[in-house]
C-alpha cells in the first residue's frame, strides 16, 4: 500500500503562474473567481454572493456565486439558450444582477462584470450544464 506521503510525492501538481480564471465547483453548484492572487477573507453579501477581500487592503480580489445551475434554468424560462462552448462571466453576473433585490449586491455584480470583461473571463458551458 502507498503511504499518503508517497502518494503526494508521486502526484505533485505543476504550479502555474496565477491568472484570473473562474472555477465551477459542481459539488456546491458554485463558481469562484479570483482577480488577484492575494491572501483574502470572505464577506457574504447575500445568500448567492460572497466577495473575497484582500487581508491587507480590504480591496475586492474575487468572489463566489452560488446556485449557478439554478440561475441558468431561470434563463431558459426567457428562452435564452446557451450555444457557445464558453459562457462569458459578464453574462452570468448580469443574470444575477437582474434577479437580486439588494442594491449592494447589484453594485457588486456590476463591478465584477466589468472586471470579468477586462480579462475576458469565461467558463465552459458544458461544465455548467452537466449533471
Amino acid at each position: 500500500m502507498v503511504s499518503l506521503n508517497e502518494f503526494l510525492e508521486n502526484n505533485q501538481a505543476k504550479v502555474e503562474p496565477f491568472r484570473p480564471c473562474p472555477l465551477y465547483v459542481p459539488e456546491g453548484d458554485s463558481l469562484t473567481f479570483y482577480l488577484k492572487d492575494e491572501d483574502s477573507y470572505g464577506e457574504r453579501i447575500d445568500e448567492l454572493l460572497t466577495i473575497y477581500k484582500s487581508t491587507k487592503t480590504d480591496e475586492i480580489v474575487g468572489c463566489q456565486i452560488k446556485g449557478v445551475r439554478r440561475k441558468l434554468k431561470e434563463l431558459q424560462k426567457f428562452t435564452v439558450t446557451l450555444k457557445d462552448a464558453n459562457l462569458g462571466l459578464g453574462l452570468l453576473f448580469l443574470t444575477y444582477m437582474a434577479t437580486t433585490e439588494s442594491p449592494t449586491a447589484r453594485h457588486q455584480y456590476e463591478w465584477l462584470g466589468k472586471q470579468a470583461a477586462k480579462v475576458r473571463a469565461s467558463v465552459p458551458t458544458g461544465e455548467l450544464l452537466a449533471g
Binding site: V25, E27, G28, D29, S30, T32, D39, S40, Y41, G42, E43, R44, E47, T50, Y52, T55, Q64, K66, G67, R70
Partner: protein, 75 residues
C-alpha cells in the same frame, strides 16, 4: 445550511492554531476571523475560507443566526 438544495449540507467552523500562507510557511490565525469549511450532503468539500467573526459570539461567523439552521455538533 439555509440554502436551497443544500439544506442537508454542513458548515464546520473554528479557529485553527495556525494559518498556512504558503506550503511551508505558517502564521498565527488572523485576529477577529474564523475559518469555515462547507460540505454538501455527501460530505464533499466545496468551499473553505476565513470570515470575520460574529461580534456577539466569537465562535461563529457574522450573521450565523440567519445563515444556518442549528448547531449539529460541538466538542
Amino acid at each position: 445550511m439555509e440554502r436551497d438544495e443544500f439544506n442537508d449540507g454542513f458548515c464546520y467552523c473554528g479557529i485553527p492554531a495556525e494559518k498556512y500562507v504558503t506550503e511551508d510557511a505558517k502564521v498565527p490565525p488572523p485576529p477577529g476571523m474564523v475559518f469555515l469549511i462547507f460540505v454538501n450532503k455527501e460530505f464533499a468539500i466545496f468551499e473553505f475560507r476565513w470570515e470575520k467573526m460574529c461580534k456577539t459570539n466569537s465562535n461563529y461567523p457574522e450573521n450565523y443566526d440567519t445563515r444556518f439552521k442549528h448547531k449539529t455538533w460541538s466538542p
